[in-house]
Symmetry: C2
Subunit: 513 residues, 2 copies
């Protein structure tokens, strides 16, 4: 046997830590499967009781993560005399558990339970409020959630802004100080570009999508492209749900869902490509990280960068449709007979302000996020209160998108996130776009054949690059470490701004600024 | 608040016991879902790693079930000064956990683990052996499994026969002493009836099934009959697997699978009806037992009685096809145009000795079980050894069914059960038939309209009766308590013997004995 420099007590701690990590990860894997099942497969009548069963396992995971055993292991492993002896992988695992442990151990159990009950009720109230277009029904719950979130922020702690504590849950290390200038630049450029498109843009043939596209054929086409763009169907599935999502069970089992609409061929198509971006990220993580906390994507933002990169930078590119459009025409010969490849490309890139975030195009999408980001920040700092939201929402929609929602259902009530307490989540979506554009610029530099790879359907080369540079690492590196490692610099809004400017100037025949 | 006669320490123990019961049941519910998923939904590449995750949860359940906490709670609750204060429901829960605890706590953890590894390997070896028709490949594993099972029998303990200890795992209270005379009578009567059918029986039109039946239409028909015969589709699902089964997640979530073959319309149809029998049992358990150990059927034998009752006594009855045949003809007009209802009824009751148990008809099925029962009993007692099995198997097949398998694949290697250590399982199948016939005689007495209810599609009345008298109780009563409660007497083979004699004399136009 090789000699080792690791001392015995540390060795014990390492083994115990590894066993605990594995147990927690195993439980998360089962919870992931159960979550997927309840959304996709479970019959109606069993769901309420099953939610209690799943809750029991979730509670167990929480207890293990904040247990005395975990605390003492983290203490031992991060003690100054030990930390230097740890390898990079173990250090990353310790970092992940420590961050959760430190945040969660100071939350009294009852506080956590009350909050869990509140979000359960809030979700029902939100559904009803949205259905009835009655913000007042949701308001008392939203007020309480904001109150709790302000308290969480205090418990978690922050340096400059209380919202930082919440952002950190979704994007470790992210702060208002970092985000404000990035988002300001993106917002201004987007509003400006949108105005120019609306004034001077040459219209696209968006009406081609107002035809009937057989759902069976849509399904076939989706299943046809998935493996080509890099999703391994032997390590995943594609199913149907009203709200598409991707769920990982383990590296060899990543499940996507999409939604087919007969009168909207774009919805399932780009939904599938988007979720495939999430899924391929998880499928390409280093198998050595399997059964450990490192076995998933590093943050919501980096995850979203992978889905948006595949959906928008690749899936809405001219080269993508050079490769796939002839086949799509074969699937839908009548509908697409008189639509040229270029017309189709322009049509899938139609920019048009709309009320609903999830239906927004690539450009206006970020403006929807700005509305939410600014509101969340001000809510948590106490500058505004929940009751003022409909008014503020509508005002910002008018300012940025030039439209005012006709109802709260199409406005402030449209998203589920606040009802489950996900304040701090929304910025991830635009962060994803920012990361994606920065990654695009890098890949175009180091892989000069990038565009022709798309044009020739060589997605394996592109996915290989993403695996090598991003995917394989799982949670080994923090989001900031990843973007610096990939692109050589911190996150920079210029890349997305330039990309949008360039792409949409071309699509809409605008003169360069 | 009402005054209670339960003293405080007992009250504490009751609350703790209930919490532990709920936790264990929650975990079983999740394991059930995971098992279903891995067989029905999971992509190939994730299954090995997921099996480890599920193993972690299974181990946890085992630990909880044999924990010191459990032991001390069971001691308290079954102490002489407390037991009389317990209600019937709690008593039954204590009985269930106590039985498992007493058996399992004496098994050393390593012994259990070695055994788990062995059965894992044995399953692979069995698959290979079956595929290659090479018993020698499975033999060393089977020998070890038999050795372990003999040891388990000694650890569990028994009064008369070591096999009793294994039977008890599947059918609490069942012994060789009870089973021997029941099975001897059934075997003799079946062999006799089979001989008479082969000599004097008027042939059925079995060849009508040698046509192509579109799988899509089969699916539609299966989905059409399921709710009519009593399976609640809002509390369950129907999917496809190579080996059909029923899996309970909870009372509101019971999942069936079936297998469609284009050249065999019977396979899916009776498979579905059979599994629905299992499923309806579970769906109709008293919801008050949900989230407790009582929330499932009381034993393998009683469970099988419900599937066989629905499949054979109802699903293969003349009245069933009076009701459903016209619709089946609408689904398959060409195939069934020149087949009368009576011809169809006789054809689905064709008796024909065959090598494979799962393809056997209602009469010869029990003879397949007799072969296995006698072999298992002699193996465990040490009268025979694993190496002698192919010879003994073929001899018994010849004696009882009059045919000798052409290969071990079609003989001693056909079933999965021994490879996972399920020695003692097979008798449940014939027990199910015995129970079912006894229940049939009772129901015909107390529900004189039974046959016309079938003929009129009033399965709700029949399922209502089964719910009232059997299903609702879950594990509240032991199998013997249930059959006595329902029929007023202990299990008696005469009912099945008479039923088979009567039915097949009519189907095959035999003279009564």
């Amino acid at each position: 046997m090789e000699q080792t420099t690791v001392k015995q007590p540390l060795q014990n701690a390492l083994e115990q830590f590894q066993a605990l990590d594995q147990k927690i990860t195993h439980y998360y894997s089962i919870i992931g499967l159960a979550d997927w099942d309840q959304k996709v497969m479970a019959p109606k009548k069993g769901r309420n009781v099953f939610a209690k069963a799943a809750g029991t396992l979730r509670t167990e995971v929480f207890k293990l993560s904040v247990s005395e055993e975990m605390g003492s292991l983290l203490d031992t492993l991060s003690a100054s005399e030990n930390i230097s002896a740890l390898d990079e992988v173990t250090k990353a695992k310790v970092r992940e558990y420590k961050s959760y442990y430190q945040k969660s151990k100071s939350i009294p159990a009852e506080f956590f339970q009350e909050y869990a009950i509140l979000t359960g009720q809030a979700n029902d109230a939100w559904e009803e409020a949205r259905e009835d277009n009655d913000f007042a029904k949701f308001l008392p719950f939203l007020e309480k959630i904001v109150e709790y979130k302000r308290k969480f922020a205090e418990i978690y702690g922050y340096k400059d802004h209380p919202y930082d504590a919440l952002l950190d849950e979704f994007e470790p290390g992210l702060t208002v100080k970092i985000l404000d200038p990035l988002f300001a630049k993106l917002r201004e450029a987007s509003v400006n570009l949108l105005n120019r498109i609306q004034k001077h843009g040459k219209q696209t043939r968006n009406e081609i999508f107002e035809q009937t596209f057989s759902i069976e054929k849509q399904k076939d086409f989706n299943r046809f492209i998935l493996p080509i763009i890099g999703f391994d169907m032997e390590a995943g599935r594609l199913d149907e749900t009203v709200h598409p999502f991707a769920q990982t069970v383990n590296i060899g089992d990543v499940r996507l869902t999409t939604r087919y609409l007969e009168n909207n061929v774009r919805s399932a198509l780009f939904g599938t490509i988007h979720e495939a971006g999430h899924g391929i990220y998880e499928q390409q993580i280093n198998p050595e990280f399997e059964e450990s906390v490192l076995q998933s994507g590093t943050s919501f933002g980096i995850h979203e960068s992978q889905s948006r990169f595949l959906e928008n930078m690749i899936g809405r590119s001219k080269e993508f449709w050079s490769y796939f459009y002839p086949t799509l025409q074969e699937y839908f010969p009548t509908q697409l007979a008189h639509v040229s490849k270029d017309e189709f490309y322009r049509a899938v890139n139609t920019v048009s302000p709309s009320f609903i975030r999830v239906e927004a195009d690539e450009l206006t999408y970020n403006l929807h996020i700005m509305v939410r980001y600014e509101i969340e920040k001000a809510l948590i700092s106490g500058e505004i209160e929940a009751k003022d939201l409909p008014e503020i929402w509508n005002k910002k929609m008018q300012d940025y998108l030039g439209i005012t929602p006709l109802s709260d259902t199409e406005g402030v009530l449209q998203d589920v996130h606040w009802s489950f307490g996900g304040i701090g989540y929304f910025p991830s979506y635009s962060l994803g776009n920012l990361y994606a554009a920065q990654i695009l610029r890098t890949i175009e530099k180091v892989l000069p054949e990038f565009k022709s790879h798309i044009e020739n359907g060589r997605f394996d080369v592109i996915q290989g690059w993403l695996k090598e540079n991003i995917h394989q690492y799982g949670k080994l590196y923090t989001p900031n470490e990843i973007i610096v490692k990939v692109s050589g610099e911190e996150l920079n809004a210029d890349y997305l701004v330039d990309y949008l400017e360039e792409k949409y100037s071309e699509v809409y025949g605008l003169e360069e600024k």
